[in-house]
Symmetry: C2
Subunit: 493 residues, 2 copies
């Protein structure tokens, strides 16, 4: 992959000086158009060999373009807040919003490649990490981001020459550290592993652009022109960028047998048994969340979904009632804010991912994409179809980090919902809970049922299984929820 980047590309000063002013102006122009139309974010990754001009190029881009609308992220050692969350979290929090440019100096490639070079991981682990990256980048591009990945390359000979040259002058000597020479010793291994990484992750939607780093003028013009052309093209494409849906239609059940209808909705629990069980399970949950096994190594994400009036709020309160208030946060999911709308849809859930020893309880969640957004047509079919695998990826990141993911669907019958709606409307202080929207959603009961069956089929995984809770009887439902949370935390150890 690096062959073309060892040819000794060069641009002479006269050519550079002739081209630079127009390029700068054109970059400023597309940047301001990007900002005005705010259709998509530009994510620029900078990676490659030491001494190949990565830092210089980033500085140059900030000089050429309007630095007010670029944010450069030096991804050095993670902070403690970052270490206590899945590795990708720090990149999520730094993603540029629509209309802006984000430059990642050091990226999600750095750790997988470096860990493999120093022998901390095996080849299979690298491949898995790369597979995850491919899926992450596909999500970004599907969400509309323009992802530009630059790899700065130097041949071994050129790198040695570069380091030696920098060392000669007292002005630049400080830039060459022992680490640089140690890295140089590993050149061949780094070459092989990064070639593998680039090969695996160079896809149509986010290809790598390998740039020979020897000649500053050549690499600057290359990067500048690539950015210009890519942004220009995407701006001109307008909505034509959107690919036509190529997904096969989701098969509807042709008989009347489906998952939710197999639930036993007649389960009940006496008040006495409920109170006994509640006390026992809340005590257990309290101990489990206070245990050092949890507070020092784990965190948890609880997801509550369900039909309107299925009793999510009540179930959540029985869970929070058992846990120290300092350990949990409940995130009610309503319409996204302006800042959230300028990001991929999973962003607002990522931003609430808990630190070590904490729990985040989502009252409705990222499943809105394949529930309300699907049923109401708020997003296109291709968008909610891809959401299933994006969601699985998200939950896998959480699980791998040690975050326990517990998901509940609280189910009631259509008749029971009607009864509860009417009851709520009759009781003055509960009236605010019923909105015209609730009545409208009710008319789409069957479409929701189908969406739920699909989401369970597609996202109930070993690491993050769905628990379907018959909730006509609130006592039984709450006990099932509490018991499931306890079981999952206990199993996580």
């Amino acid at each position: 992959m690096f062959e073309s980047a060892e040819l000794g590309h060069k641009i002479d000063k006269a050519t550079f000086d002739a081209e630079e002013p127009a390029l700068r102006q054109a970059l400023l122009d597309v940047q301001s158009e990007l900002l005005e139309r705010a259709k998509f974010p530009v994510v620029i990754l900078i990676g490659g060999v030491d001494g190949a001009g990565k830092g210089e190029t980033v500085n140059l881009l900030n000089e050429w373009m309007d630095p007010r609308h670029i944010r450069t992220h030096a991804m050095g050692a993670p902070s403690d807040e970052e270490r206590e969350r899945p590795p990708i979290w720090r990149f999520w929090r730094s993603l540029p919003p629509k209309g802006k440019v984000g430059i990642f100096f050091g990226s999600w490639y750095t750790a997988p490649i470096v860990d493999r070079v120093i022998g901390q991981t095996k080849g299979a682990e690298l491949d898995r990490a790369l597979e995850e990256i491919v899926r992450f980048e596909r999500m970004l591009t599907d969400e509309g981001a323009l992802v530009l990945k630059f790899w700065f390359h130097l041949s071994k000979k050129a790198q040695r020459a570069r380091l030696t040259e920098l060392e000669k002058s007292p002005k630049t000597r400080w830039r060459v550290t022992d680490t640089d020479w140690a890295n140089f010793e590993r050149y061949d291994r780094f070459y092989k592993i990064s070639e593998r990484a680039l090969r695996h992750t160079s896809r149509a939607e986010a290809p790598w652009i390998v740039v020979e780093g020897t000649d500053a003028r050549y690499r600057s013009l290359t990067v500048g022109k690539t950015i210009l052309e890519s942004v220009r093209k995407r701006l001109d494409e307008g909505d034509r960028h959107a690919v036509a849906s190529i997904a096969p239609p989701v098969a509807a059940t042709i008989d009347d047998v489906h998952l939710l209808r197999t639930l036993d909705m007649t389960t009940t629990l006496s008040k006495k048994s409920y109170e006994d069980e509640l006390e026992k399970l809340q005590g257990k949950l309290n101990l489990l969340t206070r245990d050092a096994g949890f507070t020092k190594k784990r965190s948890a994400v609880l997801v509550f979904e369900g039909a309107d009036a299925a009793g999510k709020g009540g179930a959540i309160r029985r869970v929070t009632g058992a846990i120290d208030a300092r350990q949990y946060a409940v995130v009610p999911v309503a319409a996204p804010t302006e800042e959230e709308r300028a990001q991929p849809y999973l962003w607002r859930f990522w931003r609430n991912v808990p630190r070590r020893g904490k729990l985040t309880i989502y009252d409705r969640s990222w499943y809105g994409r394949v529930l309300v957004e699907r049923v109401e047509g708020f997003c296109k079919e291709r968008d909610w179809l891809r959401a299933y695998s994006e969601i699985n990826d998200f939950e896998e990141q959480l699980d791998r980090h040690g975050t326990v993911v517990v998901k509940f669907w609280l189910h009631i019958t259509k008749e029971e919902q009607l009864r509860r709606f009417e009851e709520r409307e009759a009781v003055s202080f509960k009236r605010y809970k019923i909105t015209p929207e609730d009545w409208r959603n009710r008319e789409k009961w069957e479409a929701y049922e189908r969406a739920v069956a699909d989401l369970v089929d597609r996202t109930s995984t070993e690491i993050a299984p769905w628990t379907l809770v018959p909730a006509v009887d609130k006592y039984a439902a709450r006990i099932q929820v509490l018991r499931t949370v306890c079981d999952r935390l206990e199993a996580a150890g």
Copy 2:
């Protein structure tokens, strides 16, 4: 202050059981009204003696109210991201938005009191910290927050009894640590110092509510009712809460002599001198920001204000051109986002305060409050009048933490502005820079001049002085900016 909290207040079970259901319902009701109308945030502080039921009360509040709209913040040891910013930063980032409740378990009082108790600080330092707290809380309440401060008290005898009792049962023994007993030894000192803290900071706008902690039923009802009544009252007050302006009018200069007119607008610099100086100063700035004295101990905040077309962007680019892109972020200040509008106006500037070794460059800033908002009447007179001291407090926090604050006003003449506007409109690629708003602002030139004179008089402090930059000659202006930044960083050492 604690006398009434040592009287042995008690509520019997029958009374409690009779009152609790109605209280819970009323709390839920005000909470949902608060959320719907989203007029103000509720900030609840929980402090006091160990063993006085702080944790239990916080848990109870979460049980009584809807936990989806409460966020409880356990303010334990700060994270590294927090330690690299002024101490108050972590509270700013955790403030509840309008319509929500934020409970701070451990608050901005904790460190000042504890540091004094263990003898790490002197009395004068405590007093200064308390003075800052008073100003911070006044800002919060002026911005509309309802601030409720609960102090849980136990007499010495009661605390000893409580700790001994907890130790007796194997079920609660874990809750008593050596630290608790060590703290008990310091009871008298803690009593004295916290009494002083409460006395200094109990103000009409945010009084302390001291609660005797011995009896769980008494303290729970007290806290619940206080919250209920306070929120209810504020909701009912509506806009009557707003106090009438009692500020004297700002004196207008009655002659034509004022600050901006004393600037020598004829300063010029030749292109040759400019280029020489630019190279020299950019090299110097680069070294200063790379120096370990800066990267390990300091950070910087640069503020650029000025008339439209005064050349802020160009000056900023000459500064960023000297610094590694990984070290700075430029924050262009436009209309606040929805999340920002739900917070005190300084919140969006606090959120961008740099970590150690970094610089944040604000292109327009918190001074918008006393410039555009004042002149255009976007906020009330009493609001922009109090902003001067709030801004001074903000900058003092930055300075005390080691953040260098550099502020520029770039000034041009009215004639020069006209020339630049016309020039920009003539050049196609600069046209986007001129908006109808720019022409409107121009009509208020004299009002802006007066606002600038006031802002300099009131916020040019020793720690954060204003630099007024005559900017008709761009070369001279940029050099003055660069030189000032270098001087300030150098002086900070």
